[in-house]
Symmetry: C2
Subunit: 429 residues, 2 copies
Amino acid sequence: MMKIMMSESNQTWYETLLTRTQLTNEKVNQAVKDILDNVKKDKDAAVKRYTYAFDGALLPSLRVTEEEINEAYLNVDAQLIRNLKYAKSNIEDYHQKQSSQDFVIERKGVRLGQRTRAIETVGIYVPGGTAAYPSTVLMNAIPAKMAGVKRIIMVTPPSRDGKINPNILVAAHLVGIDAIYKVGGAQAIGALAYGTEEIPKVNKIVGPGNIYVAVAKKMVMGDVGIDMIAGPSEVLIIADETANSREVASDLMAQAEHDVLAASILITTSSDLAQRVQDDINTLSMKLRRRDIIQKAMDQYGAIVIVKSLDEAIAIANQIAPEHLEIMTKNPEEVFDKIEHAGSVFLGRFTPEPVGDYVAGPNHTLPTSGTATFASPLSVYDFVKRTSYISYTKEALYEASSYVIGLADAEGLDAHACAIKVRFDEDKR
Amino acid sequence: MMKIMMSESNQTWYETLLTRTQLTNEKVNQAVKDILDNVKKDKDAAVKRYTYAFDGALLPSLRVTEEEINEAYLNVDAQLIRNLKYAKSNIEDYHQKQSSQDFVIERKGVRLGQRTRAIETVGIYVPGGTAAYPSTVLMNAIPAKMAGVKRIIMVTPPSRDGKINPNILVAAHLVGIDAIYKVGGAQAIGALAYGTEEIPKVNKIVGPGNIYVAVAKKMVMGDVGIDMIAGPSEVLIIADETANSREVASDLMAQAEHDVLAASILITTSSDLAQRVQDDINTLSMKLRRRDIIQKAMDQYGAIVIVKSLDEAIAIANQIAPEHLEIMTKNPEEVFDKIEHAGSVFLGRFTPEPVGDYVAGPNHTLPTSGTATFASPLSVYDFVKRTSYISYTKEALYEASSYVIGLADAEGLDAHACAIKVRFDEDKR
């Protein structure tokens, strides 16, 4: 049951929420460290050993074959392909706008600028089991493709029979993934970070995963790039008396069904709405397949908070910096304008969060657990890198020389000063 | 003495170079973990304890006062202020071009887009002692300022007498830092990440530091944002027979004087140049203050590699993905065009790297140790975060509904499907 509380009753109720993802489990850390070390050392042999131990699959080779992809097409619903293509097209339209910004500045004798190129090789982690989502493939691969990444590798854990969910394979084929390997967990992250006989080393790893995957990504960070450390999902809904309680209830449940750690929060100015939402959740959840997960998540991290004003609701939202923010008020745009921190914002009654999860176009890989205060949705920018460049003429360098030499001297770096002086030595001879 | 080698003689000589920064020292890890835990728990008391233990300074209060800043102005060379202002103006011009990209897409009944806002509070770490550089302050604070960061906090370790290098204080004042605290090392990172009585918690921490600072940044990553894990500095110079050996030698030394771990590498098509550079280093280094550091760095990580062609030189450069790349060839632009990975590129004879360190305009905080394959120079983009937003009309949602419901069903998420269906329930009644 969702708790209903008055905003002033407990000012720190959301602290449990923001700290529910801290990766401080020493046992997990040690296990992941061992896995990474072994994959680095024994490569494919270690990967196959762990895949047998954790996934129960004994694999002669890790790479998914063309035949397996063809077979997957025979095993998926024909509608799925139509649906994935519709989503793909909208996701491409949105990410196309995230173009890179090359520029050049010219001043007397000086030319400098910024040049952008795609990252060469990228690895995408896609979870397996019940969390094997084709939408994950689209949302991670499409921005990489649009950035111009040359080689996109996908890893995902196999089931006991050594197979991969056909929906995932079809999605991967549709977006043009270059190679797919049957490996999950920390061993998959190790293989992508350090390379094995079969699996190529990548420059950057993206994609969601469980705690082992998250810890492994953090550990290999620096050896390769990573996107972000994803935590469990959350939605915060700001609603006033104009909102429809069944719609609010449904959206809160859609979030909660992801994971028992997911957080669903309603902040409302209407105590009447609060009561009706609580009732509607109880009624509506009964016919949902994942009602147990929904209930657990709501018991632990769900909350309905009654506030005195929308400004108070906005202040709470900015405190929480939610991954997903739905605004169901009379004037959603006005509220949005005052929102400082949020991953993605859904405006108005007819923009439920699932439309953004799948087909609207913006990325569904979003900063969780309050990290929207400093992090951003996954984007084309995550798949490029910039190089700055500088070119001086002799005259321009001469003009700048007293400043450079002065600063080098102030920092006690006389070889820096020497590098300028030596260019004009001959002039003095 | 710089080693001269033929490119084919040892294909893996640069591997030591790319791995010289791996943060795998267990003792350091444990020490940093303890410091972070204690700062989190005891806040200012822990910070002051560590500052006394590590820096020898017993401080009643951590914040730098206005009087101390005024005093610093009296203690710096008047020329320094002129030099810093010149650098500041060029750095601002360059970073101004890194504007954020807001956009909106409208299609029938759908409005969506990307909105950018500055990160609210940022902490800048500035090393102390002999590596207390005013240029570090400029390069980290200016992009934050241009992004619109509201509050910029600086931390830097005090000397034994409890004072901060006046050059640093003046630079901080010139760029408009909001508050400066006398604390360094892992304890400074802990204070910024979790907040103390005196030091505010920030949203993101940037700036270079020693191994303790780097490890601490990696550990707090996720609780706050960080820029990158900076390793020791490196320069790679591609030169042909047209290059001047004294200039090449000076630039290699300018890099090496930073740190005994710094790497200076010359890749040249001219064995004649190779020999002359080696000789010139021996001659020129004699009169430099940091000749011992230069010698050690060059012995360990320095190399002069003779290649058969510029294409071979380019291939090696792309393998190493150097932080700084100088191109001193007949046609530098042609070489640059084939460079895939580099932090910053310096084109032609009159663009020695120190001009970029100080005054040209591009940022000098660059990806090290091969991370230029996926990372970029520090920029305005590092101080903003993006929020996506979506707004659908009822008709637009209806049109998208079969796709969303289909994908939700394929993923086994029926509460997601319910969130769409419930919006049209009433229509059916």
